[in-house]
């Protein structure tokens, strides 16, 4: 999602949400709390740190100030611009976002690349399966996170503890108290009630899960050429650095030291 932000850090909202500046205010956008949370967690995976979704959520609950808080970010916008100049769009319809930006005199809002919308339970189960494969961290976590970037996880989060649900409620309540203009369904600020994890999902959701993973990693042929060039440049740089002369060896150091001591001795003798 394209983000043009006035004066405030945008990254906690992007791309699960976005902030678009317009002449008469700013339009903030959040899809729904489930996808926002899953996206924030995915970004942790992208750093190479492998952590389960539910474990990460528990960490947020345990450290509410240090953790990830969309309400605090929204609060900063409200404080900076005044709540009447901040519009919060809830939902995933890009047309609504564009309309609100236009209402405040802004140009067309950038539209994020399409993502495959899947039930959050599938993303959660997918990670559990991958964890058993011992993908661990580093490259494995990064590449899985990139793949998950092609998905937008929505709906209930089976397995979320009561503490997590309560934490999300408190975040939502803070957002409500900010008094922003809200467009869209307010229920999206809360986690949908999670019953038992479903045994079955619509076949289309299953297809979207794999297609989204692949789609996020696919590249157009011209990008492939750019990757080849990047790799070649990196290889050349390594070859050049590796080819520089080695640091002086012990023998060379000793010879140099002796030579300097001899020279110093001569100078001292001459002075006498």
């Amino acid at each position: 999602m394209g983000v043009r932000v006035v004066g405030l850090p945008a990254d906690p909202l992007d791309p699960a949400g976005s902030a678009v500046a317009a002449p008469d205010g700013v339009v903030l956008h959040l899809a729904d709390m489930t996808s926002v949370l899953v996206e924030a967690w995915r970004r942790v995976l992208a750093t190479g740190h492998w952590v389960g979704l539910h474990d990460w959520l528990e960490e947020q609950v345990a450290a509410p100030e240090a953790g990830w808080r969309p309400d605090l970010t929204l609060g900063r916008y409200a404080e900076e611009l005044g709540p009447d100049r901040v519009t919060l769009v809830l939902g995933s319809d890009p047309a609504v976002l564009a309309r609100e930006v236009a209402r405040l005199g802004g140009g067309p809002a950038d539209v994020s690349p399409p993502r495959e919308e899947v039930p959050a339970v599938l993303v959660d189960r997918l990670l559990a399966d991958l964890a058993t494969a011992g993908l661990g961290s580093g490259w494995g976590a990064e590449v899985v996170a990139d793949g998950l970037g092609g998905l937008r996880a929505t709906g209930a989060l089976p397995g979320a503890s009561p503490a997590v649900v309560a934490w999300v409620e408190s975040v939502s309540a803070t957002v409500e108290r900010l008094g922003l203009r809200v467009v869209g369904e307010r229920r999206l600020l809360r986690l949908p009630a999670a019953g038992e994890a479903p045994d079955e999902v619509p076949v289309a959701d299953g297809v979207r899960l794999t297609a989204g993973l692949l789609g996020a990693l696919e590249e157009q042929p011209e990008a492939l050429q750019r990757r080849r060039e990047q790799r070649d440049r990196a290889e050349a740089a390594v070859a050049e650095l590796a080819g520089t002369p080695a640091p002086p060896g012990r023998r060379e150091l000793v010879r140099e030291a002796r030579s300097r001591v001899t020279t110093l001795g001569r100078r001292l003798r001459r002075r006498r």
Binding site: L135, W139, V144, P221, L241, A242
Partner: protein, 412 residues
């Protein structure tokens, strides 16, 4: 029914399938019992369960999409291995040999020595083959649904535009005729698989190769079970979405066929999960076509082990039934397909590119990305090294510091 022929020493037994006739189980039994076979004078050709790529090259003139065609010497190497074995009998098995046209059949026999080669063809009822063969096509990126596919294929038993390899493999009469014409009818044996006796196939091949009874112990067949209806439908609908520009057959083979589908097959589906059934009209049509094939096979005069008439008997309720549209899939199925692909991202880039491998654009992109990241890390490490100057350019204190460091033992 004929007696099982015992092949003389120096024979080469070439099992040509076709597909879906029990060949995977047979090949696994040969592969997993190589040591015992050797002690009884039989060499099982190839390194794995079957020399799939070599057989494709021999029969079709091209191998797997993941193999670089220009550097593919797999068939030549297999022939050399067969010629060089000191053991008196050789078994070669791949269902891909059945797809050879007359010209390729002659070429294969010429390379293997027609005087020493005996051909074995295993057969099962066509009505039992259609469902699993369609599944296999889906695992190779096909997109037609089962019923439309059956309508197309069964309407054109002389050759269908949809999946043209189907009748190349399963006009069993023509397969037998092609090989009998080139090898001689007395050098071809048809083995009709007995559905009620799973060991019949093993015992027949043991007898042909003069092996002791019970030598071929069926072992673990690596994840080759049929997919359930929800599993195969999920793969098929996923196929409809894969895009051509960034994703070719090599990528599909590597990531979906070899990885994601196998991850699905490792799952143990519950007994009540729907299986793929063939509609009654299609079973009737396959039986009519099979009746014609059986008569034609009889006319070839090849040796037949087993009951040819069993190929036209109507199958049981485990095969026949209405095809139902799939609306939902088990959550585990959806997850396993995706997880198989994601595991492949990491696994594939962790292993070096094998000799003669051909990379699809998707795999190449992933590999380039990983290589670049690793090179960047190396570059950063090299840049962190202390400055490299000749000793004469060092200041006195730096010279002393480096001297002390050089004098200390490593890690000191």
């Amino acid at each position: 029914m004929s007696e099982v022929p015992v092949l003389p020493e120096s024979s080469r037994l070439l099992h040509i399938g076709p597909h879906k006739t029990g060949s995977t189980t047979l090949q696994a039994a040969f592969h997993q019992n190589r040591a015992v076979l050797r002690r009884q004078g039989v060499h099982y050709a190839g390194k794995g369960t079957q020399p799939l790529n070599a057989a494709m090259v021999a029969a079709l003139g091209r191998g797997l999409p993941t193999v670089d065609e220009a550097r593919d010497t797999s068939w030549d190497r297999l022939v050399a291995e067969i010629r060089n074995t000191p053991l008196p009998r050789v078994m070669i098995s791949s269902e891909f040999f059945c797809e050879a046209d007359a010209e390729h059949v002659r070429a294969i026999l010429d390379r293997l020595d027609p005087q020493r080669t005996h051909v074995a063809v295993t057969l099962r009822p066509l009505s039992r083959i259609v469902a699993s063969q369609w599944q296999q096509y889906v695992q190779n990126r096909a997109t037609p649904g089962y019923v439309p596919w059956l309508e197309q294929v069964l309407a054109h038993p002389d050759g269908s535009r949809v999946t043209p390899s189907f009748w190349r493999r399963h006009r069993h009469d023509r397969v037998v005729e092609r090989w009998a014409q080139a090898a001689g009818a007395d050098r071809v044996t048809v083995v009709v698989v007995d559905e009620s006796d799973p060991m019949m196939l093993m015992r027949t091949f043991e007898a042909m190769l003069a092996l002791r009874d019970g030598t071929l112990v069926p072992g673990q067949v690596a994840a080759n079970r049929s997919l359930t209806l929800p599993e195969v439908e999920l793969v098929r609908r996923f196929n409809q979405l894969t895009r051509e520009a960034c994703w070719n057959d090599g990528d599909y083979t590597q990531f979906v066929r070899f990885r994601a589908v196998r991850h699905l097959q490792e799952r143990r589906p519950p007994e009540d999960e729907p299986r793929l059934l063939t509609p009654g009209w299609a079973v009737q049509r396959t039986t009519e076509i099979a009746a014609g094939m059986v008569e034609a096979i009889r006319r070839t005069g090849v040796r037949v082990v087993g009951d040819l008439d069993s190929l036209v008997r109507p199958p049981g309720a485990d095969v026949v039934g209405d095809y139902r549209e799939v609306e939902t899939v088990p959550t585990e199925v959806a997850v396993r397909l995706a997880a198989g692909v994601a595991r492949a991202y990491v696994d594939v880039t962790s292993t070096p590119v094998g000799k003669g491998r051909s990379l699809g654009p998707f795999e190449e992109s992933l590999r380039l990305r990983r290589e670049t990241e690793e090179l960047e890390e190396r570059r950063a490490a090299l840049e962190r090294r202390p400055p490299r100057r000749p000793a004469s350019a060092l200041g006195t204190w730096e010279l002393l510091r480096q001297l002390v460091r050089a004098a200390l033992p490593r890690g000191g």
